[in-house]
């Protein structure tokens, strides 16, 4: 069998490794679109503030890993796919035939149509090359305008802060991380950043970018509130979009991302899709959606590869979740953090202490959660939501005292009522089949 995987992010690399694990004879080709070995975009902020070097962003550390796995790694951009002839064309002219193909081309940052967005010093923060540009321009004390205070923007914010930049954040929405957390949490993040000396402008739009005055900062950024902000660097982080443009005319149907079935197969025969480029099912809604997060990319990559190899595995849906460190204030959100219709809410707020936890129930099941300033055992929220445990009497106890979450988890999810080795046994049972998508004990 000849497998070709287009895209060498977490979804593509996981798929290649999974294929090798179930088929020792297959030919496996992994096509990366950038000159570097497969790396993690998520690690770029840590590169920017010097916590790691470029090698620290690589998805696999051993340089011989792909050779050892007998995965042929080639670089090139996709020029098109002929799903009838079963051929992939690279822009360099190379033709790669396939028996089964996985599209894992990820997403690209959206560049808003702002006059002057093409000027030198306006960067996205998406590739290693982008990070190198940012490293050159973001010096200690440099004025930097960050456009977008969503999840990605807020992670970049921390990196720029730790480099010592003088930061202005411009966000169109009324609060930071508006698609990840509510007004209370977003407001806390905003106040926290301002207390750290970051200028946070919400409900604000960038109107244009111009070259700065002679001798001053390189750029001048026009704002909808009638001011201009000087900048040596403008970082655009307004969102990402599935990278599917090359599929026009290929027979692979796309919506906002590639349309896939429950087995992550596209509408074209023998072509599958995984990760940010596709719309897999969101576990919380049961509907297709693009969930551009690392754990989903890996989950998709694994499941798609198993299906490509003939081991049928249904994808039951992925849980949307995020964790964010905003200059030391850590926040997370899970599932239906906005709450369920006719659901019940439990919350505990300490505005001054920057602590917040909100739980969302539907019936007696936990369906969503958000936390600020709370990190210990936070994965339990995922466990409860993803498994869909019925909380029984613990629901009312949690509505009264959300801080009893850990007790509730042990009781409900881990059989704490019987105690002893049972706790470990339940974990053991739950752990055996994390990728099956079937809810054996827990999943």
């Amino acid at each position: 069998m000849n497998y070709v995987i287009l895209g060498a992010g977490p979804a593509g690399v996981t798929a290649a490794e999974t294929l090798r694990s179930v088929d020792s004879q297959a030919s496996i080709t992994l096509v990366g679109g950038e000159p570097e070995p497969p790396y993690s975009r998520m690690a770029l902020p840590y590169l920017i503030y010097g916590k790691i070097d470029e090698g620290g962003t690589y998805l696999r550390q051993d340089p011989t890993h792909y050779d050892q796995q007998r995965i042929r790694y080639v670089t090139g951009r996709c020029g098109g796919i002929d799903s009838r002839a079963k051929e992939l064309y690279l822009s360099g002219g190379e033709v790669i035939p396939y028996d089964k193909m996985l599209i894992a081309t990820g997403a690209n940052p959206i560049m808003p149509p702002i006059p002057g967005a093409h000027l030198e010093g306006v960067e996205t923060c998406w590739t290693l090359e982008d990070a190198r540009h940012i490293l050159k321009l973001a010096e200690k004390g440099s004025p930097v305008v960050l456009v977008g205070a969503g999840f990605i923007g807020s992670i970049i914010l921390e990196a720029l802060y730790l480099r010592g930049c003088d930061i202005t954040v411009v966000e169109l929405a009324p609060r930071m991380v508006a698609r990840m957390m509510d007004e209370t949490a977003g407001g806390m993040l905003g106040r926290w950043c301002e207390a750290k000396g970051v200028r946070v402008l919400t409900n604000t739009r960038v109107t244009n970018i111009e070259s700065g005055p002679e001798g001053g900062p390189r750029l001048s950024v026009g704002l909808s509130i009638g001011q201009r902000a000087p900048a040596d660097l403008v970082v655009m982080a307004v969102g990402v979009r599935s990278n599917t443009g090359f599929l026009v005319g290929s027979g692979v149907k796309t919506n906002t991302g590639i349309t896939v079935d429950d087995y992550l197969q596209t509408t074209a025969p023998d072509i599958y899709a995984a990760g940010d480029c596709c719309e897999g099912v969101d576990l919380s809604t049961g509907k297709p959606d693009m969930l551009a997060i690392q754990p989903v990319a890996v989950e998709h990559g694994r499941i798609a590869a198993l299906n490509m190899a003939g081991h049928k595995h249904r994808h039951r849906g992925s849980l949307n979740m995020n964790v964010l460190d905003t200059i030391g204030l850590i926040s997370s959100s899970f599932g239906l953090w906005q709450g369920a219709q006719a659901g019940q809410t439990a919350k505990v707020i300490d505005e001054g202490g920057y602590k917040y936890m909100k739980l969302e129930f539907e019936g007696d099941k936990l369906v969503g959660a958000q936390c600020v300033g709370m990190t210990d055992h936070v994965g339990m929220l995922r466990g409860l939501i993803q498994t869909g445990f019925r909380m029984g009497g613990w629901k009312d106890k949690l509505v009264a005292s959300p801080e009893r979450l850990r007790e509730a988890y042990i009781s409900v999810a881990q059989g704490g009522a019987v105690g002893g080795a049972d706790v470990a046994a339940r974990q053991h049972a739950a752990c055996r089949v994390p990728w099956r998508g079937e809810r054996s004990l827990a999943f």
Partner: protein, 172 residues
């Protein structure tokens, strides 16, 4: 021979010596907030449950790590490599058991690694609530049977049905 932590919560008195020992062994200080094992206190029931990572076969934390900083050693233990961990915390939300935690003072995550084969918590436990046993001889077989029972029950009826609870009870 593979060994595993076996926890018998019924014997736990909540003294938290396991937490102290873990923190000292791994962090060089007595700070239970940095312990990789935690004793959960059921206030209203005077009941205590020691709780830590059970080294999943296919670990969610490991799969979620973007930089391959969590690997499996020859004993099946999931180990965080501090030199590679960037502190992104994705593993802390990915682990559905909540047993990977963020250590703000190092900017890295921490989890139980069985102290390289000599877990300090088990040594410190004065009541035998936490023991480190040969997996084959200790509770492991019992756990496997138990897990199968629970899994079967769950497949048909969900994990919180009376049947599953009953299976849990018989395995105890």
């Amino acid at each position: 021979m593979l060994k595993a932590l076996v926890i018998d919560a019924g014997k736990c008195t909540g003294c938290k010596q396991c937490e102290m020992a873990c923190s000292l062994e791994n962090e060089g200080e007595f700070n239970v907030a940095k312990s990789r094992i935690r004793v959960f206190d059921f206030h209203t029931e005077a009941r205590f449950v020691p709780y830590t990572c059970t080294q999943c076969a296919e670990a969610w934390c490991q799969q979620a790590c973007p930089v391959n900083a969590i690997t499996t050693d020859s004993m099946g233990v999931k180990i965080v490599h501090e030199n590679l961990c960037v502190g992104c915390k994705v593993c802390t939300i990915a682990c559905p058991f909540g047993t990977v935690n963020y250590n703000a003072s190092t900017g890295k995550v921490i989890k139980c690694d069985l102290c390289g084969g000599k877990p300090a918590c088990a040594d410190a436990c004065p009541t035998g609530a936490i023991t480190f046993q040969d997996a084959e001889q200790g509770g492991f077989d019992k756990m496997k049977i138990w897990a199968a029972q629970s899994a079967n029950a769950a497949t048909h009826e969900g994990p919180n049905t009376p049947k599953a609870s009953q299976a849990a009870g018989t395995g105890h």
